[in-house]
């Protein structure tokens, strides 16, 4: 009798175990669509950049859906992608509410941050709290990446703490001392300024001027005069596009001249800067060139290369390509890689899949390599200079450092 009871209990136990094992299978049924949630800014100071980035992501969605959807390894099939997006109007308050909505109401499967560190900063703690992997496209603020947060991965651009490494090396290599650093007080610019100062200090090249201004600064004439009083050989301005435009315009109209001037966004939004500052105002300006100014055509092993992307994006949208469209598309590629290689359909599994792909992927945006905290360190930002060309209206982007990727020599000091 006991034997019969024992066998019945064993059978019941096995059935329970079987049911328990079956539960996750039921729970992990393939969704009808993969919901990718993101924000964009239709107005406000980040609108230009945000919309470019959003266009790039939309292009990726359009492309994968045209091919039947994105391949999801956990279900071994292609699933269509649905893009869920809201307008944050460049406001961090609005963005906080909308990121929350994407996570808790829309239950998106993939969360993609809006452009830049300011609008990404509010997504980082929310994603961590809700255990949602944040595909951080261009929010490079060094503070976002911490050892105890596995729910973030930076898909394009290195973390901003890494950006000025080549610039610092270039300054030290060329023996340019008396450096003035003017930066905006936000995560993106501040972390670059701190890194640059760190490397310069280390080389005994202490900046002669090192000050922050508010991100909405639009008047640089008196600031430039103040900087000139310290007789710097190089002036480095870390700001957002509106700051770079106002700074370069003030430099042009003030009549001040410095041997070297560096700003960030001519390398990312050259057309915008060119239309506002003009070729003369940009002549001899140094910057970080990024795709499409920096072209990785042969090395690409995942997704379209820059030539293909430019051609297809322009024919599909009628718009021209800038770095941020590349970054938006590149974020899509990273989503594609994560879903295509993660054995489970979970946030952590996607994160592990990207960690596994780290160092092996080469996209149109460069090498994808992340640290354990999710910060991108694979893509390097060389130093480029916009050099006037005889008989041509526009300046040519010449990569001047590091030597292994250089396409020409720096014209330094810049002629008056």
């Amino acid at each position: 009798m006991f034997a019969r009871l024992k066998s019945r209990l064993t059978a019941a136990g096995l059935a329970l175990v079987a049911c328990a094992m079956a539960l996750p299978v039921v729970a992990a049924q393939a969704p009808q669509q993969i919901k990718v949630g993101t924000l964009y800014a239709s107005s406000g100071p980040f609108a230009t950049s945000s919309q470019s980035q959003y266009e790039g992501l939309k292009f990726w969605v359009h492309r994968v859906n045209k091919n039947g959807g994105v391949y999801v390894k956990a279900f071994d099939k292609k699933i269509p992608v649905k893009l869920v997006s809201y307008d944050d109007q460049s406001s961090t308050d609005t963005a906080t509410t909308l990121y929350n909505q994407l996570i808790t109401q829309d239950n998106v499967n993939v969360l993609v941050a809006d452009f830049g560190s300011v609008l990404t900063s509010v997504a980082v703690p929310l994603a961590q709290e809700h255990h949602k992997l944040l595909f951080d496209v261009t929010g490079t603020g060094a503070k976002f990446f911490t050892k105890n947060n596995p729910y973030i991965v930076l898909t394009s651009l290195p973390t901003s703490g890494v950006w000025p490494k080549s610039l610092a090396q270039f300054l030290n290599h060329k023996g340019i001392n008396h450096v003035a650093v003017l930066y905006d007080s936000n995560d993106f610019d501040q972390s670059q300024a701190e890194t640059l100062k760190h490397y310069l200090d280390k080389a005994g090249n202490k900046p002669v001027y090192y000050h922050a201004v508010q991100s909405n600064t639009s008047s640089y004439t008196v600031l430039l005069h103040r900087i000139a009083a310290d007789h710097p050989h190089a002036v480095i301005e870390f700001g957002y596009p509106n700051n770079d435009i106002a700074f370069l315009q003030a430099l042009q109209s003030s009549g001040q001249h410095f041997n070297m001037v560096f700003t960030i966004f001519p390398g990312q939004l050259l057309d915008l800067l060119r239309s506002n500052v003009g070729p003369q105002g940009l002549a001899h300006t140094y910057t970080y060139p990024t795709p499409p100014l920096l072209r990785y055509t042969k090395k690409v092993n995942f997704g379209l290369n820059i030539d293909q992307f430019e051609k297809q994006f322009q024919s599909s949208t009628g718009k021209s390509v800038d770095f941020l469209t590349v970054a938006g598309y590149n974020a899509g590629l990273m989503i594609q890689k994560a879903l295509g290689t993660a054995p489970k359909f979970s946030q952590i599994s996607m994160r592990h899949a990207l960690a596994h792909a780290s160092g092996k992927l080469f996209t149109l945006d460069g090498r994808f390599k992340i640290r354990s905290d999710g910060a991108q360190v694979g893509e390097t930002l060389p130093v480029g200079q916009l050099q006037p060309q005889k008989g041509q209206k526009n300046n040519k982007m010449v990569i001047v450092y590091p030597p292994r990727v250089a396409t020409g020599k720096a014209i330094c000091p810049a002629p008056k």
């Binding site: 239709s42 107005s43 230009t48 008047s219 004439t221 008196v222 596009p241 435009i245």
Partner: protein, 293 residues
């Protein structure tokens, strides 16, 4: 010493421009007791007017000034008669005007985004002559000097209008007491409409020089300009248009001094000044005590 001189002279030039930026807001408040929260957006429209005059006609934006005056008059008169008499007839016109002009600000901004796009636009400094001007041994952008000069002319013209014309006397009478002015036989709506349009035109005029003083322009610049204008107006004295010039100078000089010696704090300064003025002299620097008879 060179730095201090530069900051002071630069601050005066910059401050005169900001006096012009704020004066239209204060004129409308003085006459109608309404805060025009769309003021910054009108400046933005003026700035885009300057941009398009330069880009479409290839001429200096200065030639756009008459066009802008005509344009803002055409917009301002019907808007006044559509909105202001109705607001004044309500129980709380000040609060309702806040809401209405906020709505107008949003409509203008959204329409500008649709019409002009989000990208920053600018006008080369050379369109105002380019180069630089030496003042007290210091070199300043020529565009700054022109902007400050035109601001002075516009402010003097407003002064002449308010203090040396019949319309001006009537305007000041309405500023002092709208009901008494009406009882005295002044055509309050006609005078108020003129002040309303003048406020719009002054905003448009400030907009013409905005590309030179503020770097680039975009459809979203209005809100910041309204905030700064409001701070300047309160510093000078709310309802006292010429106090705005003092407010603008205080703002300009303080900002430039801060940019020179403590740049990180320069944008905070107008609001610190605003709080300080409200606490120490709530009626503003040129404000007088109100006599209740």
């Amino acid at each position: 010493m060179g730095l201090l001189e530069y900051a002071l002279i630069g601050g005066v030039l910059y401050g005169l421009f900001f006096g012009l930026v704020g004066i239209g807001l204060n004129l409308i408040f003085g006459v109608m007791r309404m805060i025009n929260l769309a003021h910054g957006d009108l400046i933005m429209l003026g700035a885009f007017g300057a941009f398009w005059v330069y880009h479409l006609l290839g001429v200096s934006p200065m030639f756009g000034i008459p066009l802008e005056v005509i344009g803002f008059t055409i917009i301002g008169i019907p808007l006044y008669y559509l909105v202001v008499p109705r607001l004044l007839a309500t129980r709380d016109p000040e609060m309702l005007s806040f809401i209405l002009f906020f709505g107008l600000s949003q409509v203008i901004e959204a329409s500008a985004v649709l019409g002009f796009g989000n990208n920053q636009r600018s006008v080369p400094g050379s369109t105002l002559g380019g180069g630089s001007v030496v003042i007290a041994g210091q070199s300043f952008p020529f565009a700054w000097v022109v902007a400050a000069g035109v601001s002075v002319v516009a402010i003097l013209a407003l002064y002449a209008y308010l203090y040396h014309s019949r319309f001006g006397y009537a305007t000041r009478a309405i500023m002092a007491n709208r009901d008494e002015a009406q009882t005295a036989g002044i055509n309050v709506h006609r005078i108020s409409a003129a002040a309303f349009v003048a406020g719009f035109c002054l905003a448009g005029l400030a907009g013409v020089f905005a590309p030179y003083m503020l770097g680039a322009i975009d459809p979203n610049m209005g809100v910041d300009l309204t905030t700064v204008s409001f701070a300047i107006v309160v510093i000078g004295s709310l309802g006292q248009p010429l106090g705005t010039v003092i407010g603008g100078l205080v703002y300009g000089i303080a900002t430039m001094l801060m940019q020179t010696y403590l740049p990180s704090w320069s944008n905070l300064l107008p609001y610190v000044l605003l709080i300080a003025i409200v606490l120490v002299k709530p009626s503003g620097l040129l404000g007088r005590r109100v006599r209740y008879a």
